[in-house]
């Protein structure tokens, strides 16, 4: 049975007393972080801001002196830069999966999770997209990647995976920004209505004249639906294309057909981990215990477990085929990463991505908020190492042994990397000041008897409290 727009309208306009109060409570709870600023928040902004400034300074120094202030050399021409690039683009898969796929699957428990997931996506694409700009030898000419008519009569080289990368990331950034922005419109309207002054003005613009009319709701739902469908293939292709940066070359252990799915899996894997970590932090610092409940961590934990096993499967496949193929050039890299120079890193990665998370996540007892957060933390570290181990061992043991090299990062690379994390934190913190980190209107929709979901398509669910299944409910306000 499908609800008509009229019925929804009725639902929204005639709340019961209890849901009315719950809705007010939701709005109050979720808007509070926007209007109040704690000391901790200021410290966090200051710290992450300093990290970003340090990164800017390091990048300025690099621009002035030359990219030689990095530890890259011949033959390790890529190292921390591309590791971070792949890592952040990977993290960006959090939003897509959680938000779009869960939205399409109509998993109602997703509601409090979507906003912070989508925010991770957008910010990590921004960071990931900035890194190539820092990494090129002459950043001031980075605009040559853009195809534009010029008197030289030269276009970019469309055969280059880097160019595909450029377009993929641009598309993904545009798509996910839209995807983040669309469901924020009603919330901007809510802030607009709740605030005064400058913030009101900004939110008036951002809310695009949202009045909450049924037509607007319907259009929003349709737009969200289209975006949710469109963004999934984009996300998959983005990381596949990133993997092509490697697999399109002849470099031993890069030149592999498994890289596309392997990278996508890794991306989703690290994305979920990042999301869990972000949710745990939000829950703690924004006092969202009633919204981000053990249920969410439990569900995401299950997903994470699946991804961990899938990641291991791909890692195993990749190494197995290499080992079985036994070509000397590949084996040189293979042994470097497994047994020789990079072995400590390799086994740390396995521990972080498999040995620690799998036992935690596979047992319900440990799949708690703390448990999943611990697993996510190790996975973040492990997945960073994984990207590093894809790039560096292959480069420094590429073909002719005479030109093998050793890579050691310098403080500039360390700073830039720390700065990328600082930037993530800063953007996230600032975002939390601008927008409720949990979608207010979606939570409200969840209060409705039909249980929410994408309204135009979703069948009604009998569950009266579609939003929260466990724990103290925000709806448990005294009658």
């Amino acid at each position: 049975m499908q609800k008509t727009v009229e019925q929804i309208e009725q639902d929204l306009q005639r709340p019961t007393g209890r849901t009315q109060r719950a809705a007010e409570r939701i709005e109050q709870d979720l808007l509070r972080p926007i209007f109040t600023t704690s000391g901790k928040y200021k410290v966090a902004v200051a710290v992450s801001g300093l990290l970003v400034l340090a990164g800017v300074a390091a990048f300025g120094y690099q621009l002035y002196t030359g990219i030689g202030v990095w530890g890259i050399n011949s033959p390790v021409f890529w190292a921390f830069d591309i590791t971070n690039f792949v890592f952040w683009i990977g993290i960006s898969h959090a939003g897509t999966l959680i938000s779009a796929i869960l939205r399409l699957c109509n998993a109602t428990w997703r509601r409090p999770v979507t906003r912070c997931a989508e925010a991770i996506t957008v910010f990590s694409i921004v960071i990931g997209g900035l890194i190539p700009l820092c990494h090129i030898g002459r950043p001031w000419l980075g605009y040559w990647l853009i195809p534009y008519p010029n008197q030289r009569g030269i276009w970019p080289n469309f055969r280059s995976p880097l160019l595909w990368d450029f377009f993929a990331i641009l598309t993904y950034l545009t798509g996910s920004t839209t995807f983040l922005y669309l469901p924020t419109i009603p919330d901007f309207a809510a802030i607009r209505d709740a605030s005064t002054g400058f913030r009101k003005k900004i939110c008036r613009i951002l809310s695009l004249g949202w009045q909450g009319t049924p037509r607007q709701w319907q259009r929003l739902e349709i737009a969200m639906h289209i975006m949710a469908i469109a963004i999934v293939p984009v996300a998959v292709s983005v990381h596949t294309i990133v993997s092509w940066d490697f697999s399109m070359t002849l470099v031993p252990m890069w030149h592999s057909t498994i890289f596309g799915p392997y990278f996508v899996t890794g991306a989703i894997f690290s994305g979920i981990a990042a999301l869990i970590l972000a949710m745990a932090l939000l829950r703690h610092f924004l006092h969202l215990e009633q919204y981000l409940t053990p249920l969410h961590f439990n569900n995401l934990g299950k997903l994470l477990l699946t991804m961990s096993l899938l990641w291991f499967y791909f890692t195993f496949c990749e190494r197995l085929t290499t080992w079985y193929g036994n070509t000397p050039d590949e084996m040189a890299v293979f042994w470097q990463s497994i047994r020789l120079h990079f072995a400590p890193l390799f086994w740390t990665m396995v521990i972080c991505n498999l040995i620690i998370p799998v036992p935690i996540l596979s047992m319900k007892r440990f799949r708690t908020i703390t448990g999943t957060a611990i697993a996510s933390s190790t996975i973040i570290v492990g997945m960073w190492i994984e990207r590093f181990l894809i790039i560096v061992p292959a480069l420094d043991h590429k073909f002719l042994p005479f030109s093998w090299g050793v890579y050691r990062p310098t403080w500039v690379e360390d700073t830039l990397m720390a700065s990328s994390f600082g930037m993530m934190a800063l953007l996230y913190l600032l975002f939390s000041k601008a927008v409720p980190m949990i979608s207010i209107w979606e939570m409200k929709v969840g209060l409705q008897p039909h249980g929410g979901g994408i309204i135009t398509t979703a069948p009604a669910i009998a569950e009266p409290h579609g939003l929260v299944l466990e724990g103290p409910l925000p709806t448990d306000v005294p009658e």
Partner: protein, 142 residues
């Protein structure tokens, strides 16, 4: 950037010299032989002006340079930035019949040299395409 009308230390009159039936190659001897056209040095000028028009104040200036053991510090009119990584060779252009005036303007009507065209890559490529000369990058960039 160079000024489009650079102020030269000597107001050298191309007009006058060309009117006296001198050729471009009389002074710019390198132009048909190699990459650079060559700007004559003070000794070359004084080769004639030891006796010709010695009272002209500009020529006195030249003589003064020579007396001090200095060359005339001509200001370049055209030059490529090193970051363009471009090699230009005059000789093949002259052999292909490109007139000096194509880039340098009609010197019979000018006193000192001026920038007549904007020597960007578009200018070069356009002409190369027109004349069916290679526009491969390594024609000019190496």
């Amino acid at each position: 950037m160079h000024p489009e009308h650079p102020v030269q230390p000597i107001a050298f009159t191309h007009t006058v010299h060309l009117a006296k039936r001198m050729q471009c190659t009389t002074c710019h001897v390198g132009v048909s032989q190699g990459p650079d056209a060559q700007i004559p040095n003070v000794t070359f000028c004084m080769g004639c002006h030891m006796v010709i028009d010695t009272n002209n104040p500009e020529i006195k200036k030249i003589a003064a340079y020579q007396a001090r053991g200095e060359d005339i510090p001509w200001v370049r009119v055209y030059n490529y930035s090193p970051s363009a990584h471009v090699r230009f060779n005059h000789a093949p252009h002259i052999r292909a019949g490109v007139a000096c005036s194509t880039c340098h303007g009609d010197m019979t009507k000018q006193t000192t040299a001026e920038r007549k065209v904007n020597l960007n890559m578009g200018f070069c490529v356009e002409c190369h395409k027109q004349k069916r000369v290679s526009v491969d990058c390594d024609t000019c960039h190496f």
